[in-house]
């Protein structure tokens, strides 16, 4: 019994740590969902695009993936604003279904484009610290997993401060709670959508880098991350930073324990089933009316 518990210590620690990735992905997804009430089904693909961006910078210029974010974050931010302005917002004015369908189209375009540019084969971001690990008790923890967790903490704090302390952040918060009243405050919904989407895609770039450091990725690996991140928002609650953080840890755990007991299939099957179960129990999400 004791032995089996200590055997679990490794997957538990790892799951909690790389759950940080889901926190960052879910935060981007929920920013957009909060104001537009549309799930950007291409969000996972933007994350993978972020991984490829770091991959290109690393393999061509030898720049460390984390440093490449200095360019990646502004680049993805602008890309997000443009996509929102010229594609999603126009669809959104037609209907929410139209916006969802457009996002689905964008998702397939990114997947196919990535396949053309980088082949369907899996890639990973290999750096000097990729295989470093440290020991805590009996558990060996890869350094990159710890980075995932640290980044999640940093991102949560920064996003929280931005939402609480700036006019723009408060405008996004207000628009998520009551769009019509927000308009009466002088808040332009189109502007809020653009910034929320730009920030979400910039967060995808961040998540992409650490995902690439943690797992191998290929052009279609964004879909499971989207689904799990969606699970995180429903579990953790929209707009609740603590909830999102804990939700990310729980899904990280479900993935690592699923993998521990049922192999590679269980790694996805367990979190997917959890998403379905949560949706069934709380169909409006835990933050529903």
């Amino acid at each position: 019994m004791l032995e089996s518990l200590s055997a679990l210590a490794t997957p538990i620690t790892m799951g909690i740590l790389y759950g940080g990735l889901y926190v960052v992905i879910a935060l981007g997804l929920s920013l957009v969902f909060g104001v537009m009430k549309v799930i950007n089904v291409a969000h996972g693909d933007f994350v993978i695009l972020g991984s490829y961006f770091a991959y290109v910078v690393l393999t061509s210029k030898g720049v460390d993936p984390v440093l490449s974010l200095g360019l990646g974050i502004p680049l993805f931010f602008i890309m997000g604003i443009l996509i929102q302005k010229y594609l999603l917002y126009r669809a959104f004015k037609i209907s929410t279904d139209a916006a969802l369908i457009i996002a689905f189209g964008i998702s397939l375009i990114i997947q196919n484009a990535a396949q053309l540019a980088w082949t369907p084969m899996s890639k990973s971001l290999q750096t000097g610290y990729s295989f470093k690990s440290f020991q805590v008790g009996d558990v060996y923890i890869p350094l990159v997993y710890l980075l995932d967790f640290i980044v999640a903490v940093i991102v949560v704090v920064v996003v929280h401060q931005f939402l609480q302390r700036t006019y723009l952040g408060q405008a996004i918060t207000a628009a998520s709670q009551d769009q019509q009243t927000a308009e009466l405050m002088g808040i332009n919904p189109a502007t809020v959508y653009q910034y929320a989407f730009g920030i979400a895609i910039a967060l995808a770039a961040v998540a992409g880098v650490f995902l690439g450091l943690t797992f191998p990725f290929n052009p279609i690996s964004g879909v499971p991350f989207l689904i799990i991140a969606f699970g995180v928002i429903i579990l953790g609650g929209l707009g609740s930073m603590v909830g999102t953080f804990i939700g990310g840890m729980i899904f990280g755990l479900s993935q690592s324990l699923g993998g521990h007991f049922w192999g590679p299939t269980g790694q996805l099957l367990v979190p997917f089933l959890m998403v379905l179960v949560i949706l069934t129990i709380r169909p409006q999400g835990l933050f529903g009316r």
Binding site: F33, V41, I102, T265, L269, L279, T280
Partner: protein
């Protein structure tokens, strides 16, 4: 007398088209034509069913691949158990329908975007299950994965062709019937206003559930026919998101929520499918771009555009065209047929 003839003209025309299509193999049509048409029938049935869900029942169900894959697997596994494949086709549809009933208590609690994402997860879960699970035959290395469909290599192409034609025609007739029945009017009332429909005594849940089950069955049968033609099945393609892409594209190009929409859209999708086969590596890129462009430029689809143009020409441009309620659509057609 003239009125009677006019009233039945569309039916007679439809009958003649079906008769000609059915006679094509006997008339010695080239095999490539038959192949194109088989794809057309199967895609048409699936797109018609998706239109029933997303267009007429307000259910943005992203899980057609679940029905297609499950029915395909059912049919395939049954052929391993010596069950003839044509029995397997129906059994596949039934299993898909049963599956839709099984998940309905869960997914029907979800609304709007939650329903969409919930149904998006379903085929992914099935894909993972079938990657692990090997119901018949020996264990391959690593568990589940692909199967040959036994005993279908000898089936002549004409037979698959006629099966496809049957399911395609059945889907068209089924939609036509549903839209003109009490069921269809109930759906239209729900789409216009969920709450007021419920308060006027319409059982919203039950009508949506019926749509879901019917769509699961028909989509499943169509999918199973596809796998008898293909001759093998494996989880990654059976539960692939490309199935969703096909029905979505066909319905959106043709016109979501319009009876003839999928018919027009599927013609374009099949042409695209075969034209793009040469450029397989960029086919999704092109299809995705078309989807985005159509959705932004002509959100009502081709048939919707034609209808709007006609209205504008007829000097009825003042009517709101953005809100394409099928209810008013049916009423206007009815009125026309009474004139």
């Amino acid at each position: 007398m003239g009125i009677v003839i006019r009233r039945y003209t569309p039916l007679i025309a439809l009958g003649m088209v079906i008769a000609i299509l059915a006679a094509l193999p006997a008339l010695g049509a080239p095999k490539t034509w038959l192949l194109y048409l088989i794809y057309f029938y199967i895609f048409l049935a699936a797109a018609n069913m998706w239109n029933l869900l997303a267009g007429f029942s307000g259910l943005l169900a992203l899980c057609p691949a679940a029905f297609i894959g499950l029915a395909g697997y059912t049919m395939t596994i049954l052929t391993w158990l010596q069950v003839p494949y044509y029995v397997g086709l129906l059994a596949g549809g039934v299993v898909a329908a049963l599956f839709s009933i099984l998940i309905s208590p869960s997914v029907f609690r979800m609304r709007g975007i939650y329903f969409a994402i919930g149904t998006l997860v379903v085929p992914e879960v099935l894909r993972l299950v079938f990657l692990r699970w090997r119901p018949v035959g020996g264990q391959l290395q690593g568990g589940g994965a692909g199967y040959m469909v036994k005993g279908v290599s000898g089936i002549p192409m004409q037979q698959t062709y006629w099966l496809g034609l049957a399911v395609g025609v059945a889907s068209v007739l089924l939609i036509a019937f549903i839209l003109r029945s009490k069921f269809g009017f109930g759906l239209a009332a729900i789409r216009d206003n969920d709450v007021s429909a419920a308060s006027s005594g319409i059982d919203v849940f039950r009508l949506k559930l019926y749509s879901f089950i019917i769509a699961a069955f028909m989509t499943g049968v169509a999918g199973a026919i596809f796998f008898t033609y293909q001759g093998y099945i494996e989880p990654n393609s059976a539960f692939n998101i490309r199935w969703l892409m096909i029905v979505l594209l066909a319905t959106v190009i043709g016109g979501k929520g319009i009876e003839e929409g999928p018919l027009v859209g599927t013609i374009i999708v099949v042409i695209l499918h075969f034209q793009l086969a040469r450029y397989a590596d960029i086919s999704l890129l092109i299809q995705g771009t078309i989807l985005v462009v159509i959705m932004l430029a002509v959100p009502q689809g081709i048939t919707g555009l034609v209808r709007d143009l006609r209205r504008a020409v007829a000097g009825r441009a003042l009517l709101p065209t953005g809100n394409t309620s099928i209810f008013s659509f049916i009423l206007s057609r009815r009125r026309k047929s009474h004139e």
